[in-house]
């Protein structure tokens, strides 16, 4: 068990949330709060950097979807970066690998470069 910390930084395409620790039943509301407190402009891309995510259960998956919904409501897009293998496997089982654009790391998201959600290939 490790606590959840979320740090926010802003890059050209939009905010990047670096999520460290466990995303579970007890900590998932913190991600929602963090996303709600963001200033997201239409056309921006919210990037969730999961490189240091230790654990993600079904409550954590729900929180990722909540983040996506909050971004979508504001006309912004969302992408996941550096998804750990175990979480990537679970996203595949539940079909979310075709809902979230997934990139190797934050740099790859920036390189993909588009802040226009309609240009992203993987969105369903």
């Amino acid at each position: 068990m490790s606590p959840l910390t979320i740090t926010t930084r802003y890059v050209a395409i939009g905010p990047v949330l670096e999520i460290t620790g466990d995303l579970d039943h007890y900590t998932a509301p913190e991600l929602r709060t963090a996303v709600e407190s963001l200033t997201l402009a239409a056309g921006q891309l919210l990037v969730l950097d999961l490189a240091r995510l230790d654990f993600c259960d079904s409550s954590g998956i729900s929180a990722l979807i909540s983040a996506r919904n909050l971004a979508t409501e504001q006309g912004a897009g969302i992408a996941l970066a550096a998804v750990p293998a175990n979480t990537a496997r679970i996203l595949g089982i539940v079909g979310l690998d075709r809902v979230f654009p997934i990139h190797d790391d934050v740099a790859a998201v920036t390189a993909a470069g588009s802040s226009d959600p309609s240009r992203r290939k993987k969105i369903v």
């Binding site: 259960d57 079904s58 409550s59 979807i65 909540s66 919904n69 539940v94 079909g95």
Partner: protein
């Protein structure tokens, strides 16, 4: 603090030290009488029958009495409260007589104003050189602050104990309510389906958190039966509410049109719209229809983000019935669901499970148990029908110990193998 040690002082310091001592003595106490009268505790001396012979001003002030009314006229016991008097007579005085001294006894003295004052009493008998008791010397310490502190401590402890008792009772009541609610999310017992055997198992990970796993088996139409098994994301009462909504939506949708993709699409619409604003609620589900005919059972099922069903064949093999690409139910307004079909022949068993089983962590490395291990385990079991498979799997779950930290539901459906007997042709 002045602290003289036994160490011999330096020769040059001797005179200075004596002068210092004299100054301190004069500053501290000008007389022993003054010390006796104004001491920060009460002093009194009584004759052996208790009659007060001498008493200091401090104690007289506490009592609010004149020396003239006390000395030679009152006994020590007269200064005590009723309870104090009794205690003095039954315990204090006899102990003093036996031991010659009694130390630190808590009693109440009564003051002239009628109030009681808690004190700590120490008495010592003074004897003559022959050992004959002569008088009793007594000190009386003010214990008001101490008593208040003790009372506060006691009250604090009682409050803490009461709170603990109440919280334990609340916890027991809550767990009972949760257990009842959890059971209401599952069928009390599976129905008897002609030509089919069914078995199920539910493992609860935490008695404090309602799990979100569910399953059901029920008739639809024309001899067909429907089944489902799924897992709501999250835990607790909110997840249980979704479980309940999901269960009844699937049942109602199946009665209307039992096509698996249609049923899952209906559930998707209901969950998506119900939880569209605010925090979403999602579930993975496999829903299917069973159609018994000619000694076999046709299975038509679809999955929304749920791990593929596993089939244990009568020949001892075990294979998944793949349904990849279906989406977690309730995420998007239109979602893809993937269907598949198979036939269950006599001796075949269809197994549905939630990912508590496959996501369990095993061994010291906490390695993922995984789907391949589940397939291998199932292939290693004799094809003896759903009940036997459920029994084997519940044993497997138990063997995971703490590595199994999620709720797990199992549902097995199979066509019984013919019972081969010598007189089979006659029956």
């Amino acid at each position: 603090m002045m602290c003289r040690t036994a160490q011999e002082p330096e020769p040059g310091d001797k005179h200075d030290a004596d002068v210092t001592d004299a100054v301190f003595t004069s500053l501290l106490e000008d007389s022993a009488e003054e010390l006796y009268e104004q001491a920060p505790c009460g002093y009194l001396s009584t004759l052996m029958d208790g009659t007060i012979a001498k008493i200091n001003t401090t104690l007289l002030d506490w009592l609010g009495l004149d020396r003239s009314r006390v000395v030679g006229r009152m006994r020590f016991a007269d200064l005590l409260s009723v309870g104090g008097k009794l205690y003095h007579e039954t315990h204090f005085a006899p102990l003093l007589q036996m031991q010659g001294e009694v130390s630190g006894i808590a009693m109440d003295i009564k003051t002239a104003g009628g109030r009681r004052m808690p004190v700590l009493v120490t008495s010592k008998v003074k004897t003559t050189q022959d050992g004959e008791p002569l008088l009793i010397r007594t000190t009386v310490f003010d214990a008001r602050d101490r008593r208040a502190y003790e009372t506060e401590l006691l009250r604090g402890r009682q409050a803490a104990e009461e709170a603990r008792r109440r919280s334990e009772a609340d916890r027991a009541r809550l767990q009972e309510a949760l257990a009842v609610l959890q059971q209401s999310l599952l069928p009390a017992e599976l129905p008897v389906v002609p030509g089919l055997e069914a078995g199920s198992y539910y493992h609860t990970a935490s008695p404090d958190l309602l799990g979100g796993d569910f399953y059901d088996l029920f008739p639809v139409d024309g001899g067909r039966w429907a089944f489902f098994l799924g897992d709501v994301c999250g835990k607790g009462p909110q997840a249980a509410a979704v479980t309940s909504l999901t269960r009844y939506t699937l049942r109602a949708a199946a009665l209307h049109d039992a096509d698996p993709v249609t049923v899952l699409t209906t559930l998707n619409t209901v969950l998506y719209e119900r939880y569209q604003s605010g925090e979403g609620r999602y579930c993975t589900t496999i829903f299917g229809v069973l159609e018994p005919q000619d000694g076999r059972v046709g299975v038509h099922l679809a999955s929304g983000g749920h791990p593929s069903a596993l089939i244990q064949r009568a020949d001892g093999s075990a294979d998944f019935l793949p349904t990849p690409g279906g989406l977690l139910v309730g995420v998007l307004p239109q979602a893809p669901f993937v269907a598949n079909r198979t036939d269950l022949l006599p001796g075949d068993t269809l197994l549905l499970y939630t990912d508590g089983l496959t996501e369990a962590r095993i061994g010291p490395e906490r390695a993922l148990y995984g789907e391949d291990a589940l397939r291998a385990f199932t292939a290693g079991q004799p094809p003896a029908g759903p009940q036997a498979l459920i029994t084997a799997l519940s044993g497997l779950l138990a063997s995971f110990g703490e590595g199994l930290d999620d709720d797990t539901a199992l549902l097995a459906l199979g066509v019984p193998a013919p019972i081969l007997t010598a007189n089979e042709d006659m029956t």
